[in-house]
Subunit: 262 residues, 2 copies
């Protein structure tokens, strides 16, 4: 039986209703085309697009946007040489590209958070699941132990944290992507010891923790990095897809850390 | 002659017109009170507030907000114990606290950018000054040489960068604070080799540079950190104030890096 791009999208989007403002959707390609093989990635870099073509997949499912902005930015797209170049590379590959950002975050529990927790092998510690975060109770944890575990399981070279390495942190909130903002994470620090998130503004929650520690309170944050926190969620989505379409090869293409230290 | 808080504010705000949406203004204290001594900081942490009282300054001028959000967030302020604590510490010190964020950024050239360039001893390289950025031409520069210089002059332990360490980067754009977003910095990368900024979203400009390098283009970014990029600007403002009010002691209280590496 022929499986089309629309079939794949229907399966992924089952039971999810999105606002008209969604960033998701088929950005390149035709819904009626047959899917021969699928590649899944967090970031649709030029390297990922080329790799997708190389492995003969004709549908690329990505979490973030093609042109370096969450919402389409026509001014930027019209005036940037590299974006023109990337568009012609996409045209040459003839790939279908489907952005899946809002849908996977609307799963219950959030597919991206779920994927991160699975990658960390922490499912047994989950105590509470909310749309924006999960709360885990991990016995005998310290910030240093948690940081070591994160680095090992996620293959991260270094982590940025605020707090004391030896602090006990049995109650931990886990958030992915850009959910590290103060409005989301400061209230969580009233009930947990440690907040782990992808990315967030530097002088909101980090400053809160800095002040809290100075007042003798045992609080901490670990900033994983945006890609580092969401890559496992797209790996999880790739696995789900493979289960749903056993006859279509599904390949997960990981996104490495971009920043180097000097 | 008695110098009041209003006199100090008038001098700083001279010739600057702000929108009604400004975050600036006197958050604590009375405009008519005499200023005995001034402390100036990037971040009004609890430690900075206590230090200001300790050195017998009665006016604290800060760049960022007291309660971990750029705009006042009543929900957060009403429900967070540490914010309650910080408010009572402020009340005990009886300090006047004046936030100066928008004003110093509206100076021509931007006072915060100017302060960073002065701290780096790069004034002679400035080629173009715009409200959001300055462009510098630095002969024989490479990313590694620039990074070493930044670390040494700003006392930063480590820097995060994307690009090749050995790339030549004679044309450099310098941006402070949260101006590292893609809409601001991607167009700059069409005309400069390297962009140095405080903070910005991880998968906008860093991903652009990642793709550009893969296409053989010699581009790079260095992310200084928000506080690291703006602290010298507040030091510059403190110096300006001391020149304007020679009889009032002005003390600059530096903000250290908050993140540790693991």
């Amino acid at each position: 039986m022929m499986i089309t791009i629309q079939d794949v999208m229907n399966q992924i989007e089952k039971d999810i209703t999105l606002d008209s403002s969604t960033v998701d959707g088929l950005k390149y390609g035709n819904r009626e085309d047959e899917v021969k093989a699928i590649a899944v990635s967090f970031m649709p870099s030029i390297a990922v697009i080329q790799k997708t073509a190389e492995i003969k997949a004709n549908l690329l499912i990505t979490h973030e946007a093609l042109f370096y902005q969450h919402h389409s930015n026509q001014t930027l797209e019209k005036n940037t040489n590299l974006i023109e170049q990337k568009k012609s590379i996409i045209a040459q590959t003839n790939l279908a590209i489907y952005r899946n950002h809002d849908v996977v975050h609307r799963y219950q529990p959030d597919g991206i958070t779920q994927g991160l927790i699975a990658e960390l092998n922490w499912q047994q510690y989950v105590n509470e699941q909310q749309p924006a975060y999960s709360i885990l109770h991990i016995p005998n944890a310290t910030l240093a132990k948690i940081a070591s575990h994160l680095k090992e399981k996620l293959g991260i070279e270094y982590l940025r944290f605020v707090g004391n390495k030896d602090m006990k942190c049995e109650k931990i909130a886990v958030l992915v992507g850009y959910r590290g903002n103060g409005a989301t994470t400061i209230p969580l620090l009233e009930k947990v010891d440690l907040v782990i998130y992808g990315e967030g503004p530097e002088w909101e929650t980090p400053e809160f923790v800095w002040d809290a520690v100075q007042q003798g309170s045992s609080k901490g944050i670990i900033q994983l990095g945006h890609a580092e926190s969401e890559d496992p969620g797209m790996k999880w989505l790739a696995n789900q897809l493979q289960l749903g379409f056993p006859t279509v090869p599904v390949t997960f293409l990981p996104t490495t850390s971009r920043f180097q230290l000097f």
